[in-house]
Symmetry: C2
Subunit: 342 residues, 2 copies
């Protein structure tokens, strides 16, 4: 039998490291229970310590395998890790622990790791909000790194990933049109570009296409080999503006074969380097402010929408809709009339 834990009790249990309390708190946030806001308000002060890494990319790029491999490297480096999957194609999301036993087995049974999938039904606006709130809870629960996996096709999913401190955009060779998708805005949010499945044919073409998009001039890509085996290929850097122009971040193309672990440690090191750069350059504060502003605006909008719905007489909206369908009025005039009456 489920029993209703009070907000205060649930919050302290979560802060004390109780994983069951964390799972319960996440469910309340996801289901938007009445006490969810109180819970988040209570736990918010304890958040702000985790480094949040967004991982986005088209389906078929092997994001989930990469996330698993990256989580393992972080564990080996002594850090605790939480994974949030917001990708309908992810084995984490598609049936969670039942979806891909082989990959998941490597993460199970370690208390320093926590995996949570977010429901992908319903409106993405709401999903974006609950993802941010889940991150706050995991942050308050003390995880050092939080990996947020989203599928990078829609702008809304990109938005979820871009609320991260460090954003990885994952590509894979031979997906053709996907590079086109990346062009449409996803690339702009990348702090690190990853070409996964780099043992596949066509990897050079993919890397070159990405580099061209980064408007790289000068040297070509540099292969890094160990005993003749390709470890990764590093591209000449693209610089990114920082408050201090002397402190610039270089967007690079890294190559990984996540299923074999190749290049994953280098990727982790690059993420950590980005983390240090964020703090040194002052960019961290900027990103935190954007995240806070986004959260605040989302809350304000949700509450206002709720109030409007409450003020509108039942049936009135249906009547107006009917008039619109019969072309007796149009939505634009109807909206103006309704707003004037409020």
């Amino acid at each position: 039998m489920a029993y209703a834990q009070s907000v205060a009790a649930l919050a302290s249990a979560l802060l004390a490291g109780d994983r069951l309390a964390l799972a319960r708190a996440l469910s309340r946030v996801e289901n938007q229970t009445e006490d969810a806001a109180a819970l988040l308000a209570a736990l918010y002060p304890a958040s702000g310590r985790a480094h949040i890494v967004g991982i986005t990319g088209a389906p078929g790029t092997g994001k989930s395998t990469l996330v698993t491999a990256l989580a393992q490297r972080y564990r080996q480096a002594g850090q605790t890790v939480a994974v949030v999957a917001v990708d309908p194609t992810s084995p984490f999301t598609g049936g969670a622990l039942l979806g891909d036993r082989v990959r998941m087995r490597s993460l199970a049974g370690d208390p320093g790791i926590f995996v949570r999938s977010m429901a992908t039904r319903g409106s993405l606006g709401g999903l974006s909000q609950s993802t941010g709130e889940a991150v706050t809870l995991l942050d308050a629960a003390g995880f050092d790194r939080i990996l947020v996996e989203t599928v990078g096709v829609g702008q809304a999913e990109v938005e979820i990933a871009s609320t991260a401190h460090t954003t990885l955009v994952v590509e894979a060779p031979g997906l053709g049109d996907e590079v086109q998708a990346i062009k449409a805005g996803i690339l702009e949010i990348a702090d690190i570009l990853v070409v996964n499945k780099a043992d596949r044919p066509g990897v050079d073409r993919t890397v070159r296409a990405l580099e061209m998009m980064l408007d790289i001039e000068g040297d070509g890509p540099r292969a890094v080999r160990h005993h003749g085996q390709l470890l990764r290929v590093e591209s000449p850097p693209r610089t990114r503006e920082a408050k201090d122009p002397a402190l610039r971040w270089q967007v690079r193309v890294l190559q990984t074969v996540a299923s074999a672990g190749t290049g994953v440690e280098e990727l982790r090191e690059r993420v950590e380097l980005h983390r240090r750069w964020l703090h040194a350059s002052g960019e961290f504060t900027t990103r935190e402010q954007l995240r806070a502003a986004h959260t605040l605006e989302t809350l304000l909008r949700a509450e206002l929408n709720r109030r409007i719905a409450a003020q509108m007489p039942a049936g009135h909206l249906a009547e107006v809709v009917d008039q619109i369908c019969r072309r007796q009025t149009d939505p634009y005039s109807a909206a103006a009339t309704l707003l004037a009456a409020l």
Copy 2:
């Protein structure tokens, strides 16, 4: 030099079939110029005659080729067609006419067809709105059929497609995880399922997977061949509720090879059958009401958000955001305080 045409002049030119006026009107809607609402209000009464077909599916399924082939079949059947592409992976969107000259060539030079790509940057909320508005303009301009192509991964894109009268969900063999993506809600909106690239290996597995999702019992799929060549495979039907239970729509899995034109005429016929079913069953009215309600709500929200932003003193929000970042307050308490002050 661009010259500012009045709303009334632009609207009558559009209604008279002036394609340049249509293109200008679409740009005003997309750029959300000040007179966009007046333009839409003026043209709304002339809308409501087109049949709107949403085409969604993961990247790599060949949606754009299918849309092109379907548009051509409609032209051959004597109908005028407008295409709206909201897919960042679409050759229509990715550089529009420059993107894929070969495919586009087959559509160019015919006044009975009109192709418009929607910018995929910016918020999807706004994109969803402008797509609906573009459809209204094209409808008023007199196109018989409007094909709206979106990439079916995010819920928001699915939402755009689901504002159509008839929704096609496109699959392709061998995409593996994609079928998983479909599971996550896309399938529910399908009026017709299409397995494109049906000459590829693995087509049977894909069809079977889709059928299993449709919970089909009884007979297996039926191959329709012409002189030994596979034309399409029809699956036993899944029924869909209608107001009159005797009038049910059967969701079927059709197979196409859009690049060769195979199965496209059958698909067009199935779309037309669905159109007739919508009107006969009363479902058309229901869908029109949903569309009108959605448009109205979007307009109300946009206007209210604008008013809130206008009322908030400049700098005040930034100050609150700063306090949140310093953990002096939390977004939930801050939102409550701000709302109380409004």
